[in-house]
Symmetry: D2
């Protein structure tokens, strides 16, 4: 992933040096398990840990380059790594990796990286949830117009909007926890996964120390349906980011101006139009969501490897492993910051709510008319008449609001007087269930 | 979905008549809940149920066409349906749908359809698991060559191959159960989801009777991240189908011939080459997997609806709702039948296992040499020498098998004699962990 | 594709009966070519044409069912068809399909169907271009605010907006013509495409009569990169539909109301909110675009068939062949109707243009100040000062417009007086290049 | 893109320094055009070129960091760049970028980068075509079994296989040339693309000097359908790479062994199985193809920007611009090297061709029997009988080949004697059209 969209902690998980360190940990643990079982000498395992440990810990750019240089000859990354480590460990190194295959190391290491990445992402969502909850309660009863099809519908509250996004990110958190479990497995099963050359207890030992489950059947590789499920989850989370980003983009439109991304002092909106404050963060998030979604199908295409394994998944994962997690980490953090500082304009919300002459209260009137005994069809027609009259004249000198038009309608006044109408249109009626909904979402209201 | 890939039970879920029947059930339940709360007269709810019930039950092609005819005027499907039902229910029909929106009906009905579809798919997987388990145990110890990169690696058993697919479909079943829960929610929340015009207890009542959970925040629509998760899961299951189908395609290759799809009497393989038995079922499944995966991204693009809702998701779902579930149902059933009848050729497996002169036992020899005290590098070189010699001469008059070549190598014989070598290469060694793996997968071995 | 999104002409291309008729035409033409070459008796070709022609022409639902019944036994669609035709043609039928394979018929027929579909789609775009051009000229100088990031930027004209979409659909037309050429090839090349059993002149003859090119190398199948290019093009066209649909959705927002989809008499916008006129057509188009895009990746996954061919592409194409073309045909026609009748509100455009107190003229003032000798940085600062002051007070009692704020700024007035400022802000300046752009796009202004 | 899959020349196109240099070139050209038109002083344009040129040329890591530091304050990349350049150019810098917007620079620069990338990719394909043509002629008449469904069908030649891939890459070249033209446009059109603040002649001047066409309507941005078409083309090329890679993977299977990727001295196939030569290059290419295809949908989702532009496309393009072109460049080069050195085993091809006892000649016999007067159905039955008998006994002691079985069939011998049968089965018959096909593909045979 390009540096612009990378954060250091997530980036570090995917550094070559860190990957080698994880490889070493797997090899060292496997050796210890084998020593315990008597498959290799106890001194060998000790030498691997004691000489290899510091060597692995000290891997920096120069060592990475040294390993890469070996790989350019052997054309095999794990052999290159083992060769490099062997040079530091000495003759006991021959007991390292015994009965194992490269995939045992590669796939288990990838599982470690992905679980760490998942942990960061879950933490990112936790941070986001805090802001969403805070802002939702802050605006629990801030009236704003609810819009279906981009058209004013009926009043809702800004807090309810945020509660919906909060609930979605709670689901996304649950999905990420499940996705983490999907890929948190260890395979130390040897060639074609028969565990003929490596005892299942070695696998169990390594898995236990790494906090992973044992893969029930690894045909040399950890099956890729797990990774497909993982990356699909990232795509769903990204789509949730896009939904909230799209909401902010809409709210910041010049005609709406109900909310604005925080404008940093010194920030320039445009090289030519200084008055502009563009929702560039949320637009950026929209693009990042497309990007993360784009990694889902390649991950699914990786599932159908040939026979016990082929290596076609590898080039895909070398790219999307870091790219998808780094981009999503960045996006979640950006979204959190954006929501934390989002500037909200309740007075603009109120102005927009009233901008259509009150026709947004039509549903409440329709209900009241029906309850007053009018047939649904007649009530619908009456409300439509008044609403159309209001709508058509909107912004013209002859404009009359919805209430006025209703009170000029004999069919309406036959059943409801002005007081009854005002009671029916009382905005407080719109929010009667807000507490109930908040309680469902947050456990409190 | 085209009839060719449709099965009646899944198809029925998506028929227009069935959809209208579900709509009615939702409306009738909502009316009953409202009557209980006193929002509408009890007689109204009774009339809706008693007059509407038989009318809904009797919906057939003619009635569907009648409703469609109304929709062509109103350009609104739910209003068309309510009008049609109202004609049969009479004046009490005005109490139907009170305070509700179309989405309350549409989204809850879609949830009912998707949960039913999920139930069928879970049943499909159960049927598949039965066959996979049966065949896995049948061939638990049938030796076959394990292949990585399409190249012979080391022996495994055909049962182990199937155990791997079984384990994957167990995971897929778990995922489908989770996906079912994702979309099993009910929303009766009225305009923009505030539940201002419809009591939350109505929603709870309807949800309870339909076996659904209450949607915590439905902004008029059930949030589409749920559906994205559902369709993504179908894409993962489809990819698992492709993996098994790809295995069968490989095994049926003329050069491999280890297994064959059942060839029906009367079936013609090709219009021109009568000897051919083509793996057309598994190829067909490969294509169906691509198709089902293709529906994932549109479902994810549906997440970011505008504000409280727009209707852009609808055209997508009208197509992929039925298409994805029908195609996957068909594919799972086809796969089950294919695996049930798959013709397996153990003698071909054995022949292929031995076809490379024994080099597939190199790993066992490498291990034995190392354990006998040779350095890993030296052992690697010795095994590589013998293997290369075997490999290079393969199929030529001067061909000598791996064992012979090893016994001609002084470095090898310095450490191992023929008996030790035969012990090291004993194929039984390859299967020592099969029972352990089977126990992990099936709970028995 | 569901009937709701199907139009009869495109649908007809994909009917089973029509497919069989095309199959027959290919067989009959091939027989005629073979008769000309002396490969088969001339009477045979004549009998095939004369007896087969009417039989093929008369294929209706009953005959389709008869062929399907044969297929259920033979499990081979082309053999079933040949058997059915043979029953009507008599003994000469044995000369039909000689040296050919099923794919020769299937792939060439698919090419015929796709080219016909492409022709309809090109016609659809032509119809759309007519409306876009008409509306573009109608509103060539209708001022409207140009928006970047959803934020008011500078004035443009509604005609210019449409000119941009027109230019995109001209490109889409060009792409569709190229896509049509991609798939307009014929393969009559026999098993594995060697043309060993069928003379290349037969292929050339059939191709010529069907208006197709000869496929240079068909390895039994027409290579699927052609189809991938075709479906990718449909995905691009669909994305262009989405762009215009998104524009309309934005313009119809309650806060913007610059344009509206035509509202049919009798149409009901919502079951609960009668005043609503929702942009349901453009939302529907947005969803259809997602759907058509979803077919692109499966088509690309179809490219890598195994060896000379496998049949995994078939199930994909049985679905996406009709679905993608039918959905796109429907979408283009719906878009054309929508644009034809789109209700446009120039007065609302004007009102929105002025809604921000004139800050949208800042760029013109910035330029004027720079030209009057102010440094870019100073001019930027001055304009930003005035713009920010205008923006901040917007809608408040103390509001002053951009012009007033500029004239209160000594740095500005030191270089420009009111007259100079008015000249700089003259809206006519914004449209000086409209004719030039129109000429580039339409060849006239 | 990760360094592992990057080649220096393509990488250089996407370096930050190179991007800034292209930005400068656009600004300098625009200034020169404006000076020519008298919009800015001639000395200003000269100063920009003379002082800015060396400053831009000298941009290295330190300067990139300096510009990035400015961006961290201004939060605007183009303003940061202009500020940096202005520091070196002096007061005349204020005439730079006049009337332009950031997008004018960004989008035109992106067009320059993409056209350069396209040029490299076209060159890559040219290099590939050379190898494919060379190997195709080398093996024009090398017999090999053609396979449909992975099942032996009829003989073809290895040269014909390659000719098919050659033809596909000729098409891919044509598509890349078209894709290059799609994105080779220049926009210098100012805010919302009206060209109100920048003369169309400036745009024409810049376009001409950069070898780009003028964008007919750029609504501040170059419309993204162009880029969608570009990236879709990369996805199609990638799929063609996958097709050839899949062929090699199949040919290298242990059971097939008709071809092998070149095995470098020192290369280690596996850490555990030294005899293995895995088709790791072609597997790697398969994965890279998935990756490049994954970028197609995000590019298509970029098309529907809001109104005159939003910036959601930017994050997508910052990643997929380099990633897709770098990965495809690498993949094409790797494929070329792989095909250049591919080790081909004609004797294995011959052995496989004969492995099924001659049943692969059934089509020729079927044709001969039909021509000898047998009905198609009877001939089909006879051939099927003999083929089935051959097939069933294959590899068993009682095995008899196809020819023997045919000669034991009275229905066959009633019409054909052994000589006639041998003539019918003569393999030379399979290759009669190879020259004709080669001529169609290469213009020579």
């Amino acid at each position: 992933m390009v540096p612009r969209y990378s954060r250091p902690q997530m980036d570090a998980i995917w550094s070559p040096a860190e990957r080698f360190r994880i490889w070493f940990e797997i090899e060292a643990l496997a050796a210890e398990a084998m020593a315990e079982l008597g498959t290799i000498p106890a001194e060998a395992a000790r030498a691997i840990r004691e000489k290899g440990g510091p060597r692995a810990a000290a891997i920096g750019p120069a060592e990475v380059e040294a390993i890469d240089a070996i790989e350019r000859v052997t054309r095999h990354d794990v052999i290159a790594f083992l060769t490099f480590m062997g040079e530091g460990i000495g003759p006991e190194a021959r007991f390292m990796h015994q009965g194992m295959t490269s995939s045992d190391v590669l796939d288990t290491a990838f599982a470690v990286q992905l679980t760490r990445a998942a942990d960061l992402l879950i933490g990112d969502i936790d941070a986001l949830l805090i802001q969403l909850e805070r802002r939702a309660f802050e605006h629990k009863l801030t009236p704003t117009i609810g819009r279906s099809h981009g058209i004013h519908a009926e009043p809702t509250t800004f807090g309810l909007k945020l509660a919906g996004h909060y609930a979605e990110f709670v689901r996304n958190r649950t999905r990420l926890v499940a996705a983490r479990a999907e890929i948190a497995t260890c395979a130390i099963s040897g060639p074609v996964g028969t565990q003929a050359s490596v005892d299942p207890r070695v696998e169990a030992f390594v898995a236990g120390h790494l906090g992973l489950a044992v893969e029930p059947v690894s045909t040399q590789v950890i099956p890729r349906d797990r990774h497909a499920a993982f990356f699909a989850t990232l795509g769903i989370v990204a789509s949730g980011i896009e939904r909230l980003a799209t909401e902010v983009r809409h709210l910041q439109r010049s005609e709406v101006r109900e909310a604005e991304e925080f404008f940093h002092p010194g920030q320039k909106g445009s090289s030519a139009m200084p008055h502009k404050r563009n929702p560039v963060l949320s637009e950026n998030l929209t693009g990042l969501a497309r990007l993360v979604r784009g990694y889902v199908t390649p991950a699914m295409e990786n599932v159908a490897l040939w026979h016990e394994r082929d290596i076609s998944h590898s080039s895909v994962e070398r790219v999307i492993g870091p790219d998808a997690t780094i981009a999503l980490d960045f996006a979640l953090a950006r979204l959190t910051g954006m929501m934390e500082k989002l500037v909200i304009y309740p007075e603009r919300m109120q102005a927009n709510l009233e901008a259509l002459g009150g026709v947004v209260h039509s549903q409440k009137v329709l209900l009241a008319l029906t309850q007053a005994g009018m047939s649904r069809e007649a009530a619908y027609a009456a409300v439509q008449r008044a609403a159309m009259a209001t709508w058509t004249a909107l912004g013209r000198p002859e404009a009359r609001d919805f209430r006025t038009n209703l009170l000029a309608d004999a069919e309406v006044t036959a059943l409801m007087d002005a007081a009854a109408l005002d009671a029916a249109m009382d905005p407080a009626r719109d929010f009667v269930s807000v507490d109930a909904i908040f309680t469902r979402v947050f456990g409190r209201a």
